[in-house]
């Protein structure tokens, strides 16, 4: 009897030590799921999902507060990727958050810019170079096309233009989107006919 109690308590003590060691040694900083979700988001920091940026939205998905279909820049492909990561059913984009658009960048009309810096303060990714009473210029490669600079401009000198693929920027499209696009393209004439 005493032997059995002793053996079990020694075993329990050893297991406790092992768990305690593991908790310290293999400690995970932050939530790895949120990191993985954040890596799939487009990093436009546009706030269309209702959160102040991509990272807070990723955290909200990980915590179960937000749904996976609130990111218009990510589009159907993004929802698909999130669904695969989280093992959920993909669903169409929530229209309340906006519609999927082709990638755009902001362009400043230099003849009307008055150098007010309001767009610089609004830009979430520091893509506008300029200072007070000096020319503001959008750094195209850093602009995410989030449209947050449009409302503050007092002279309406910012417009968004579609980004056309160049030889340097063209990439193989992600799987999923082109198939959907292709079937849509194939199916629409048949519907029309």
């Amino acid at each position: 009897m005493l032997e059995a109690i002793m053996a079990l308590s020694v075993l329990a003590g050893l297991c406790g030590l092992l768990l305690g060691f593991a908790a310290v040694r293999f400690r995970v900083e932050g939530n790895p799921v949120a990191d993985q979700i954040d890596a799939l988001l487009p990093q436009t920091q546009c706030g269309q999902c209702g959160y102040p940026g991509c990272r807070p939205y990723a955290q909200a998905i990980a915590d179960g507060e937000a749904d996976i279909n609130q990111c218009p820049p990510g589009g159907a492909t993004g929802v698909q990727a999130l669904a695969e990561l989280l093992g959920r059913e993909p669903k169409p984009l929530n229209p309340e958050n906006g519609v999927e658009k082709p990638k755009q960048v902001a362009v400043i009309d230099e003849t009307t810019c008055i150098g007010c810096t309001l767009c610089i303060q609004a830009c979430p990714v520091d893509a506008i170079l300029g200072a007070a009473k000096l020319m503001h210029t959008v750094i195209a490669q850093e602009c995410t096309g989030c449209e947050l600079c449009l409302p503050p401009c007092p002279v309406d000198c910012i417009s968004l233009v579609d980004v056309r693929d160049k030889v340097e920027t063209w990439r193989w499209p992600y799987p999923g989107a082109p198939i959907g696009a292709a079937t849509r393209r194939v199916s629409s004439p048949s519907v029309a006919a």
């Binding site: 810019c113 000096l134 959008v138």
Partner: protein
């Protein structure tokens, strides 16, 4: 420390990442970036420079993560643009009761 030197025109925008020693000034960073070789028409004596949208001096020291920016002057006269807008918006304002935000 890591910094960037940036210059932007409508057709080309250049951001050069640099690794510099502590206490480097804006002028030293711009020289190190060799940006002036590519744009010989920039005259640092006339051109205004700054860090992240705030005007600064060429001899000011930089901090980790700063983006040194070389600016260009405005093309439009802010007063003239505002006047034009005022003229354009006048009928709208008269239509509204008396607030600025007639829309």
């Amino acid at each position: 420390m890591r910094i960037e030197v940036a210059y932007a025109r409508p057709d080309t925008q250049i951001v050069i990442p640099l690794e510099v020693s502590d206490g480097t000034t804006l002028a030293q960073a711009i020289v190190t970036s060799r940006l002036l070789d590519r744009f010989p028409d920039i005259d640092l004596n006339v051109t205004k420079v700054g860090v992240f949208g705030k005007l600064s001096q060429l001899d000011a020291p930089l901090r980790e993560g700063d983006r040194v920016e070389i600016y260009r002057p405005l093309l439009a006269d802010p007063k003239a643009v505002r006047k034009q807008r005022a003229v354009k918006n006048k009928p709208m304002k008269q239509k509204g009761t008396d607030g600025e935000c007639g829309e």
